[in-house]
């Protein structure tokens, strides 16, 4: 140690509130942190207002001349229609319980990503235009003028919220910030402000039946390819029936299961399971998409895209519906489908044809989650599993936000995993189950132009994965959401290299000992099985 340099003051760190006024709506659309705007062709295809070419970086967003009236009328209508919306606008006391619960706040430090502060962006407009004090005293009563900059601010921040609802778990008033986000996005859609990554899949779903616009013959090709793959792996001829009238069960999955990886390995797992138990099922080339990007845009579009599931169930004459691994698909099915497109009184109470279990929890929707169905099979000892086939994997489980917080599906996926894998480790308690951290890419944010924002939002989840990687050597992150499967690999590659991503039914497919199968030498990814398992 020795003396160096001249004496100068130590850096003075002042812990104070941010410079400027939080009410200033101006935002910086920095590349990598926002989604591109929707294209006119997609808005036109869906009959939505103000189709035009624009981008968030444009100075002029080409809003309709009467945009302000449209927004305020839209707000008024929704305040009258949804009692919850008015309640959420009125009851927040800014206690701060939600402040450090949002993954985007924890990953970015942007104070407007504190859930109460994000809601305040619309609450201030509510106060100004819909409360007496705001009308009389304006900003003194916490009100703000509705300007084009506010529209841009709404777009920036409400397309950062992934509607994961983690904040609502901690809110003493039960304010559901996700619903506030849904309503603000719906308001923005009234003036043609929406994103390409949501509207293009929604338009294709509306026109063709699935997000990529895969026509029926390509859908069939894709499933036949899966059957070929399964023949190579198991030596068995596995049929995947399409549009078969009179089947007992309609199986609906997210389209990513048949065009993307690693989703595809989950599809292989489903089909092996159905073959092994002799399930009388069909898939539909029309209801070839369980995912519902309409839910990221507006209630009407969500309802319209969801309708095909019941329509196909009715047309094919099935008794009930089984749904695959997907996140927001299940949010819509579980929370909204019955009231939007029900009642499903043309369907029967779902009963497992193998175990006889009545799924009373699905009495209204008549739709059962694949993890509930499989866990029930395992519980009744109807499947022969060899978990040692998954021994190369040290597994953890990410509770996808919608199935966990949205529908309480916490135990069933874990039950399947613990029976299909020998090496399973939970992430810390404050980051799983109902407290799970979002992947940072849900609710339509999972596009590549928004990559930096996604990596910020996904950091708290990745941080917990890194913890179990360091503690237990975890090398596989499992989940039951198609968006997770699309975006968590990127998150892992960036934050926790060496951790792969898989669906729960991929693990099940690996472990499933099928009647008449050939000696299994590879897993569903074509990788060599664990040595002990392959020798057995």
């Amino acid at each position: 140690m020795g003396p160096i340099m001249s004496e100068k003051p130590v850096i003075d760190i002042a812990l104070k509130t941010p410079k400027g006024d939080w009410r200033d709506p101006r935002v910086d659309f920095r590349k990598g942190t926002f989604s591109y705007a929707s294209l006119p062709k997609d808005l036109s295809a869906l009959g939505l207002p103000n189709p035009r070419k624009w981008q968030p970086t444009d100075l002029d967003w080409q809003l309709p001349p009467d945009w302000k009236r449209i927004l305020l009328d839209g707000m008024k209508e929704r305040l009258e229609k949804y009692r919850s919306f008015r309640l959420f606008m009125d009851v927040c006391v800014r206690c701060g319980a939600c402040a450090d619960k949002c993954h985007f706040y924890l990953g970015s430090g942007d104070p407007k990503n504190m859930p109460f502060a994000r809601a305040e962006l619309v609450r201030s407009i509510y106060r100004r235009y819909f409360t007496l004090s705001g009308k009389l005293f304006g900003s003194l009563a916490g009100g703000r003028e509705l300007t084009e900059d506010v529209v841009k601010e709404w777009f920036y921040y409400f397309y950062q919220c992934t509607e994961c609802r983690r904040c609502s778990v901690y809110c003493p008033f039960g304010i559901d910030t996700a619903e506030i986000t849904m309503i603000v996005r719906e308001l923005l859609s009234l003036i043609g402000v929406s994103t390409h990554w949501i509207m293009e899949p929604a338009a294709k779903s509306f026109q063709v039946g699935n997000h990529l616009g895969i026509p029926p013959h390509a859908f069939k090709d894709s499933l036949e390819f899966a059957a070929d793959e399964l023949r190579d792996i198991t030596g068995l001829d596995i049929e995947i029936p399409i549009n078969r009238k009179g089947a007992e069960i309609l199986f609906v999955m997210p389209s990513a299961d048949y065009f993307a990886t690693p989703h595809y390995y989950t599809l292989l797992g489903y089909m092996m399971l159905f073959h092994e138990i002799g399930l009388d099922f069909t898939v539909s080339a029309y209801a070839s998409e369980g995912g519902n990007f309409g839910s990221f845009h507006s209630n009407d579009l969500m309802k319209s895209l969801n309708a095909k599931i019941y329509d196909e169930a009715r047309r094919l004459g099935v008794k009930w519906i089984l749904g695959g691994e997907c996140g927001h698909m299940w949010r819509v099915l579980h929370q909204y489908m019955d009231t939007m497109n029900g009642p499903a009184d043309f369907l029967e109470m779902p009963v497992s044809p193998i175990t006889g279990t009545r799924f009373e929890n699905a009495a209204s929707t008549r739709m059962v989650h694949i993890c509930e169905f499989t866990a029930d099979l395992i519980h009744h000892d109807k499947l022969k599993l060899d978990p040692s086939r998954n021994d190369p994997y040290v597994v953890t489980y990410h509770d996808s936000c919608n199935p966990s917080r949205g529908m309480g599906l916490l135990e069933e996926p874990r039950y399947v995993l613990k029976n299909a894998c020998n090496n399973f480790h939970e992430m810390p308690a404050s980051t799983i189950r109902e407290y799970t951290f979002c992947c940072g890419s849900g609710a339509g944010l999972g596009n590549d132009e928004n990559m930096e924002m996604r990596l910020r939002g996904g950091f708290p989840r990745a941080n917990a994965v890194r913890h179990v990687r360091e503690e237990h050597g975890v090398n596989l992150l499992t989940c039951i959401c198609a968006i997770d499967k699309a975006t968590l690999p990127t998150l892992m590659d960036y934050w926790v290299p060496g951790v792969q991503v898989a669906g729960v039914h991929e693990m099940l497919g690996n472990a499933l000992v099928m009647t008449g199968e050939k000696e299994r030498t590879v897993n569903l990814r074509g990788e060599p099985l664990a040595k002990g398992a392959a020798d057995a």
């Binding site: 100068k8 812990l15 509130t17 390819f225 993307a260 990886t261």
Partner: protein
């Protein structure tokens, strides 16, 4: 408080300063790694860097610690000088407490700064790779089919 501990706390405060306001306070004060992943990452990595600053200056340890910090700061709403600038904050800390510092502190800070810039750039380059790989996975089944068909023809 020992010299390394003093430097660590002051350097952590300097690193958190860019966040401003209550988040800077949260970053420094909240010790739960899952309620404060940024602060946790900064504290763990800066602990390594301070150890190296007073110690052997091992390049691998320095690069790994900056890799974690720059993974964060390269994708946050920070200009390059904000993301990396805190490294030079060590100069001010050293000047304020010269008796505690290594004799060649200036040269050590320069080496740390170079590593920080290198890791920042590496993170930015990885973004392009991530985007490409994500697109490849999005059409993974089509690629598998194409590979399968090529194999059949061959």
């Amino acid at each position: 408080m020992s010299a390394p501990d003093t430097v660590l706390e002051r350097w952590l405060a300097a690193a958190a300063e860019v966040y401003g306001g209550i988040f800077a306070e949260h970053t420094i004060g909240e010790r739960d790694p899952f309620r404060n992943p940024i602060g946790h990452t900064l504290r763990v990595s800066l602990t390594v860097l301070v150890r190296e600053f007073f110690g052997a200056m091992q390049p691998a340890a320095i690069d790994a610690a900056f890799a974690d910090i720059m993974a964060l700061r390269s994708i946050q709403a920070l200009a390059v000088e904000q993301a990396v600038g805190f490294v030079f904050g060590l100069r001010g800390i050293a000047r304020a407490t010269p008796a505690m510092m290594p004799a060649d502190a200036e040269a050590r800070i320069d080496k740390l700064a170079l590593s920080a810039f290198q890791q920042y750039l590496a993170c930015r380059e990885r973004l392009a790779e991530l985007k490409l790989n994500e697109q490849l996975r999005a059409f993974g089944v089509a690629r598998m089919r194409a590979a399968h068909n090529r194999g059949s023809v061959a």
